[in-house]
Amino acid sequence: MKIAAMRDVVKRYEGTIALDHVDLELQKGEILGLLGPNGAGKTTAIHALVGLLPVDGGAIELFEQRQHTGAMGLRRRVGLVTQEITIFEDLTARENLQFFAGLYGIKDPVRRDRIRDTLEFVGLTEHADKLTRKFSGGMKRRLNIACALVHKPELLVMDEPTVGIDPQSRNHILSAVRALRDAGTTILYTTHYMEEAQAIADRIVIMDLGHVIAQGTVDELIERIQYEERVLLEVGDPSPRLMEDLRRVAGVKEVQAQGARLTIVSQAGAENLNQLIACAQSSGGVRSIMAEKPTLEDVFLALTGKSLRDGGEK
């Protein structure tokens, strides 16, 4: 079942086009990763989707209703985790949740229960009554997420929720996101960390310069660019004869040697790993072997000609 959709959406800011005929769909119960470098249009896309920004063209549907900036009713069904930490540092974790739950119209005793459950979910029960200015960066991020969860949204939109935090808190957040998906919440997760998108997203939409440049599952995206495979071998005796034998194996395009380490590039789908190992074993044996799979980083590089890590700069 479709939860949200953007069709041919265009958004312009004075002189620049932030969203250029964007199409995307979000299915119930999935984690959709929105991946792209800074400035790709991810935040503009999610703000348009949840009705915070008017668009200049196209149509947006949310819960089978036409989305627009004044649609207050739809906001009760959506939670937004902003990129900035927006908790109140002079309130305790519990008071922060009381504030947001109160503004969503949730009353006691339901509010009390929701706050207790939400604090437990993000692992802050023991810190519930401490002022949040004393929290670590990771704890603040987790409370930031809790504030968007306390009203039990059907759709949770997370805008770069793990920026600037320690690996432990990041893992906690990623586990929590998976647990939410398993409990039936639909999640739109924007990030410029491809490892995160690869780790948690059921489907991925890659954006760059306001365009959707590709979408699909991780495997589908990788398949689109997989025209070669690499095998890294460390051998006992990297002789010229071994190099020649390896080059003669079916599907091999190139063999490079760096000391005892050999990089063998084959055509995609060559399925020649057994033959490569057999060759290497006859020439001093194999010390180690590693097959390299393309990553989303390679997909982004192949599709745009630039790296995701460097913020999309050419």
């Binding site: 906001r75 959506v78 109140f88 009381q98 504030f99 109160g102 503004l103 009353k107």
Partner: protein, 250 residues
């Protein structure tokens, strides 16, 4: 109604826990009142000028009025953070009109500054021997001034949509009100225009006249007139804020 109260409650807690609010609105005036009171008490002719009110009482009144007029700044900071800077997307995502949060915050600002003003008046009475006459009038004046200050700050923020110019304009209006009320330096009150200005012409003048009349046991109708005009002015500002909030925060 729940939205207003939850916002007011949380903003109230935030203001009370904010060390800057306490220092600026309570600590600084507590230091200024005795320093200025003792400094001015030796000036020849001051007792005749004050017509029976003690210098310490007069200084306490002036300082309390001035700090009440500047009390809208903290509320402005909260609203600015909520709707014009880093919290704006989070707050705009809430299923309630922004005016709910603005008025809730305004209520908290009002409550905290009235409490701080009352604490100042109480301490000035107990420790420095100031005589305000009627504490009820003090509370009414504090309420009127604080309401005026909170609404002025909100109006400027909604008008400019930027904290810097809004704060500067609020400061100019508050300072101008005190200056034209004859509270920064003496004005030629023997001339009818300046007499009117320093008696009824600005919110600070109205507050000063009401407090002085109460301290001297003056006419109730005069006090009621000053307090009434002060609240009327605040009501006009309130209407403007309501109109601006609907348009600017839509």
């Amino acid at each position: 109604m729940n939205g207003y109260w939850i916002t007011a409650r949380m903003a109230f807690l935030r203001l009370l826990r904010n060390p800057t609010t306490m220092l600026v609105q309570l600590g600084v005036p507590l230091i200024l009142i005795p320093i200025l009171g003792y400094s001015f008490s030796g000036i020849p002719g001051i007792d005749a000028f004050l017509k029976g009110t003690s210098v310490m009482t007069f200084m306490a009144m002036v300082i309390i009025i001035m700090f009440q007029l500047f009390s809208g700044g903290f509320m402005m900071t909260y609203v600015n953070e909520a709707y014009f800077t880093f919290r704006k997307w989070r707050m705009r995502m809430l299923p309630c009109h922004p005016s709910v949060v603005v008025f809730g915050t305004l209520l908290a600002g009002l409550a905290v500054s009235v409490l701080q003003g009352a604490a100042l008046a109480g301490l000035a009475t107990l420790v420095l021997g100031a005589r305000f006459g009627s504490f009820g009038v003090v509370l009414l004046v504090l309420l009127g001034l604080s309401l005026f200050a909170q609404l002025l700050g909100t109006l400027m923020l909604l008008g400019f949509r930027s904290y810097g110019p809004a704060f500067a304009m609020t400061w100019i209006v508050a300072y101008g009100s005190c200056m034209l009320g004859g509270m920064i330096f003496p004005l030629p009150v023997d001339k009818p225009f300046f007499h009117f200005l320093t008696t009824y012409g600005t919110p600070a003048s109205l507050a000063k006249t009401a407090l002085l009349d109460a301290a001297r046991g003056g006419s109730t109708s005069e006090i009621a007139l000053c307090v009434g005009v002060l609240f009327l002015g605040a009501a006009v500002f309130g209407l403007l804020v309501f109109l601006f909030a609907r348009r600017r925060l839509a």
